[in-house]
């Protein structure tokens, strides 16, 4: 199910402004890869190019290739809608659909994709909520609005919604930054559990979090303000945090940055 991603010579633009320059990396299947780096270094921007969410913003463009299982996502005949079915995403702030109940939220991707079989949908809702460690908390109020849950529960609901469409890759854009420590822990445990089935890429500002949950870590930085962001290095997480290859990585990790 999970697949590996090969990024080659990726340049990302907002209109004429080059936001990220020359990124090449390999993201392994069934593992957690963390993107770290200072604000504005382009780590979230790179993440959004992995499921073509980048181009939702007007005038945003990309050059280079992103291969998923040998298929370039930016080939002309690839449909971005199909890409996003295969590469799911969880956002910084929990964003359940306010007009839908908990179970409708989880089933939203399938329903809007044309699935009408009630049994299939119910099965997917339960499986996804169990997968997101939320089932026991909400099983008695599946028809209540999703907006009524706590922040941490809402974020797990969003994860359940993302995995309900059975993607191969799950992108997480600072999924815990709006949550309290206990909810954060719950999400981190969840990441640990589901990585056996998915390729997970997580952007985080929290270096302890990167160290705790990820197998590989990529460090992004900017040469200077106004210059495009770039990938400094990428390695096993233990190596990055104990013995990084580059001085700027070490400076950032030890807090001697900027």
């Amino acid at each position: 199910m999970a697949q590996r991603i090969d990024v080659k010579d990726l340049n990302i633009y907002y209109d004429r402004f080059k936001a990220v320059e020359d990124v090449s990396m390999t993201i392994e299947a069934r593992s957690v890869t963390a993107f770290i780096g200072p604000s504005g270094c382009g780590k979230s921007t790179v993440l959004r190019t992995l499921n073509r969410m980048h181009e939702v913003i007007p005038k945003a463009t990309v050059t280079g290739t992103v291969d998923l299982n040998g298929r370039n996502l930016y080939d002309r005949d690839v449909d971005p809608v199909a890409v996003r079915r295969t590469v799911g995403m969880v956002f910084q702030r929990p964003n359940p659909f306010p007009t839908m109940s908990i179970s409708d939220n989880v089933a939203a991707g399938l329903k809007l994709g044309g699935e009408r079989n009630k049994a299939v949908l119910a099965e997917a809702v339960e499986r996804s909520l169990r997968g997101a460690n939320l089932w026991n908390e909400v099983k008695d109020r599946l028809d209540k609005p999703g907006a009524g849950l706590s922040g941490g529960q809402q974020q797990r609901l969003c994860i359940a919604r993302a995995i309900a469409v059975e993607p191969q890759v799950l992108l997480m854009d600072e999924p815990c930054s709006a949550l309290d420590p206990i909810s954060t822990l719950a999400i981190e445990d969840l990441i640990e559990e589901i990585k056996t089935n998915y390729t997970i890429v997580i952007v985080t500002h929290n270096m302890q979090q990167a160290a705790r949950v990820s197998d590989r870590t990529a460090f992004f930085n900017l040469a200077a303000t106004g210059k495009p962001g770039r990938l400094v290095e990428m390695d096993d997480t233990t190596k990055i945090f104990s013995n990084p290859g580059r001085k700027e990585t070490e400076d950032y990790i030890s807090g001697r940055f900027g």
Partner: protein, 300 residues
């Protein structure tokens, strides 16, 4: 301490008192804005009081709601408003059937698709349409319907002229509501691999539905009270006519106009009673619209 600026505490060591002139001006301004609000309320209360006072007794008669004015002349009391209510509702309904989809899709274009020159042109023409005098809308449909196509002045023609007046109201309110839908919801939907049109129709529109319904109701309230285009396109009839394609069709505004300026007391009573009926209809729609807005606004 709740000491206000205009009455400083007696024991305030070190705090100088305001000069008399500054304090007087402040008090004067306070009085003036209160007076302004009171002035604004006078006509509202006065109008409602006049219409209610002159019109209420006919509304209590059941024939008022069930009969038309057929075979009833100005000197005679009796008859009802059924034919005019029917005409007003039928014309407003047809108007909404045409105007609402046009306006909602235009708003969708402006918020979800439009960029560049075309979007600016559309937005500009909606502004023009907002300011178009209703009599001009009537003249336009007259020029199209009667002069160009040689058709008769029937209910449908009146409906068409109302479309021009309803579209801008619904476009603007729908546009506002769509803009209130957080972008995060659109992104969440795209990230699930939902195509744009389904994202708009199944996520964005339902989220904004309450506000859109409110806009439609306010638009309906506006067109139901319109008189000017009906003077050109919708001549009054005293009997019931349910055919929008043939013959004269009564409406509440033209019924009021018909009974205006006549010396006979029954006609004067009918004029006030039909004005009250119209106000009740319009205010009900208006209040219903606000209630919908209150209870189903976009939750932030």
């Amino acid at each position: 301490m709740t000491a206000t600026v205009s009455s400083p505490p007696l024991h305030a060591p070190g705090v100088p008192e305001l000069s008399r002139r500054r304090r007087t001006r402040d008090v004067l301004a306070t009085v003036m804005v209160h007076v302004a609000f009171a002035i604004a309320m006078v006509p509202l209360v006065w109008i409602l009081y006049s219409v209610l006072g002159h019109g209420w007794h006919l509304l209590l008669d059941s024939t008022w709601w069930t009969n038309s004015q057929r075979n009833i002349n100005p000197e005679r009391a009796g008859g009802g408003v059924y034919h005019a209510i029917f005409g007003t509702l039928a014309q407003a309904l047809i108007c909404a059937v045409i105007a609402v989809p046009l306006a909602v899709f235009t708003a969708i274009y402006l918020v979800e698709y439009g960029t560049g020159r075309l979007a600016r042109a559309v937005s500009f023409t909606v502004d023009i349409l907002t300011g178009i005098p209703s009599i001009v809308a009537g003249l336009f449909i007259y020029a199209l319907w009667v002069t160009t196509f040689g058709l008769q002045r029937v209910g449908l023609a009146a409906s068409l002229s109302l479309v021009l007046l309803m579209v801008p109201v619904v476009v603007r309110s729908t546009e506002e509501m769509l803009k209130l839908v957080p972008n995060e919801l659109r992104e969440a939907s795209y990230a699930l691999g939902v195509p744009k049109w389904k994202t708009i129709s199944r996520i964005v529109l339902p989220t904004a539905l309450g506000g859109i319904v409110t806009g439609v109701m306010l638009g309906l309230a506006r067109v139901m009270g319109e008189t000017a285009p009906l003077l050109i396109l919708g001549p009054y009839a005293s009997s019931i006519n349910t055919d929008l394609f043939n013959g004269n069709m009564a409406t509440l505004p033209t019924m009021i106009r018909e009974n205006f300026g006549l010396p006979d007391q029954p006609a004067i009573d009918r004029m006030w009673a039909s004005a009250l009926t119209l106000i009740v209809l319009v205010l009900l729609l208006n209040i219903a619209g606000r209630v919908v807005a209150r209870f189903s606004g976009v939750k932030k």
